[in-house]
């Protein structure tokens, strides 16, 4: 499904600020895999997802999604294959557009946009139905501007918008990190339901080790731009936070980023 071959990414290459963000990443992800991604701050998690999404191009290496070499595709072109939800709830929706207008924008992800009406009458019932599943009462507010919604409501809407058209790959970058714990759990629950239902191939970055263990069928840990750990199946199912920490020290031999790893 996704194949990353020798991905190398520098920022500010050749300057004093040079950052070696991704160090020769090789990663194969199968269709339907739900991969959780952990690692300390600055490990390169977001950079990895951004490379897959085409926000910037790797310095070398190859990205293949669904048998297509997308390495040179710009971000907007990859949207045909990829959906994303960002950490900041403000980034996933248009505040001055209504809920239905936002959903209509998302329902055309990766498709040609023409002179047909932006919001079509026949879409409205479908939107309302999908919003009803969220159980947040948004189905009665199709004409409200999204700027009026709370962060949690916006993030729930973003999850819905990201998956209305089934993406080949779903990328979640700490998408619940900015929410209060209760809302975060609701959104996580919703995420799980949507991914299960659509059998979506997913990469989910989290800074919460419990979540990383509890969700998904595969876990990878990044450190300084390399994949330090890659566990799946039984191995992952039986994992505990303690194991994860032990594993981390064994490979690393130093007490790194303990704080950020212990969070949660």
């Amino acid at each position: 499904m996704i194949s990353l071959e020798g991905i190398v990414k520098y920022f500010h290459k050749g300057s004093v600020n040079e950052v070696f963000a991704l160090d020769n990443i090789d990663l194969q992800i199968d269709e339907g895999d739900f991969v959780t991604v952990i690692g300390s701050n600055g490990a390169g998690k977001s950079t990895l997802l951004n490379c897959i999404a085409g926000v910037f191009f790797p310095d070398s290496g190859k990205i293949i999604i669904n048998q297509q070499d997308v390495t040179g595709w710009p971000e907007y072109k990859r949207a045909k294959l990829i959906s994303r939800v960002f950490q900041d709830p403000l980034l996933g929706t248009c505040p001055s557009a209504t809920i239905e207008q936002n959903m209509a924008l998302a329902s055309l992800r990766g498709k040609r946009r023409g002179l047909g009406r932006g919001v079509k009458g026949r879409d409205r019932d479908k939107f309302r139905e999908e919003l009803r599943h969220l159980g947040l009462g948004l189905d009665a507010r199709l004409l409200d501007k999204v700027g009026l919604l709370s962060g949690g409501q916006r993030q729930a809407l973003t999850m819905l918008m990201a998956t209305m058209l089934k993406p080949d790959v779903l990328l979640l970058d700490e998408h619940i990190a900015a929410l209060d714990p209760k809302t975060a759990n609701q959104i996580l629950q919703l995420t799980q339901e949507i991914i299960d239902q659509g059998k979506l191939t997913t990469l989910m970055i989290t800074h919460n080790m419990n979540h990383a263990i509890r969700f998904g069928n595969r876990l990878i840990m990044l450190h300084q731009g390399s994949i330090l750990l890659d566990l799946r199946g039984e191995e992952k199912a039986n994992l505990t936070v303690r194991d994860l920490l032990a594993e981390f020290y064994k490979t690393q031999g130093e007490e790194l980023a303990l704080d950020s790893l212990l969070l949660g």
Partner: protein
């Protein structure tokens, strides 16, 4: 203000209102402050005037003017998106270049249209008194442009244009090439500005290379007046407000020019100063209000 002066002001408000709709599109919708308009207004005027003096149908000359303006806007947008030149600077460069281009088009600083056919002939032939012909034609064009822009922004592409101004990162991740949208939007905006210029030229019987000076400031003043007086809660309302704002602006200018304090009167050449002061006060008013309330 005489009845005649008021009529003239409404006429001006409607024809320049087409320009204001274009300015609203870049300034407010796309969040792209665009000074190209000071060049694309006279560009439309020169194209239309030269076309008419070469025997081209006056209506067809409007289409050519619109296309010319569209192209000018595209140049600015390409400089900004593809070559990463700051939007303000990119638009100033196009505007300056257009000054020379307009003189080339007219083979001089102006072209007179005395005795030539214009778009007003048709309505005069229909029996509209000639002093009302401008009003009728301008109202018609302004309404058509207003309806078109509201319809267009409600389309799939139009909604993407709104999203580019609102949250470019989001709309890119939904598969929209934001560069293409900005090029289209700034192009369309300047197309409308050129159309406005072409109609002005046909009305005043001449195109002049200097007629674009202050276009952006007049446009902004109209936008701000419109928003303040008529609101901008929906797209339709915002564009109607922009058009009405243009009419109110021209009426206010006519009023100011008619004022007399002792021996002092405003000259038409004071117009840009008055407008600039108006825009500055509108821009700093919210700030001042906040400070006063904070006290």
């Amino acid at each position: 203000m005489t009845w005649y002066a008021a009529l003239g002001a409404v006429e001006q408000g409607l024809v320049y209102g087409i320009m204001v709709i274009g300015v609203y599109l870049t300034f407010r919708i796309l969040d792209f402050p665009d000074l190209t308009v000071d060049g694309s207004l006279p560009l439309g005027a020169s194209i239309s005037a030269v076309a008419i003096t070469h025997g081209i149908n006056p209506y067809l000359s409007l289409v050519i003017a619109l296309a010319g303006g569209f192209l000018a806007g595209m140049v600015t947008a390409v400089l900004n998106t593809k070559f990463k030149i700051l939007h303000l600077l990119a638009s100033i460069l196009t505007m300056i270049a257009l000054y020379s281009i307009n003189i080339r088009i007219m083979s001089g600083p102006n072209v007179a249209l005395l005795g030539q056919k214009t778009v007003f002939d048709a309505v005069i032939r229909l029996g509209v008194p000639s002093h009302l012909a401008g009003l009728v034609i301008f109202a018609l064009f302004a309404l058509v442009v207003l309806t078109f822009i509201i319809w267009f922004l409600g389309s799939e592409i139009g909604q993407a244009i709104l999203a580019v101004g609102d949250n470019p990162q989001m709309i890119r991740s939904l598969g929209v090439n934001t560069h293409t949208i900005i090029i289209l939007g700034v192009g369309l905006s300047n197309g409308l500005v050129a159309l406005s210029g072409a109609l002005v030229a046909q009305n005043q019987g001449a195109a002049d290379v200097g007629m674009g000076i202050g276009t952006i400031v007049a446009g902004l003043a109209s936008v701000i007046i419109g928003e303040t007086l008529f609101g901008c809660t929906t797209i339709a309302r915002a564009f109607i407000a922009a058009l009405l704002g243009s009419v109110v602006y021209r009426l206010a200018i006519a009023l100011a020019l008619g004022l007399e304090f002792g021996g002092f009167r405003f000259n038409p050449s004071d117009l840009n100063l008055i407008t600039a002061v108006l825009v500055i006060s509108a821009l700093i008013a919210p700030n001042l209000k906040k400070r006063l309330i904070a006290r």
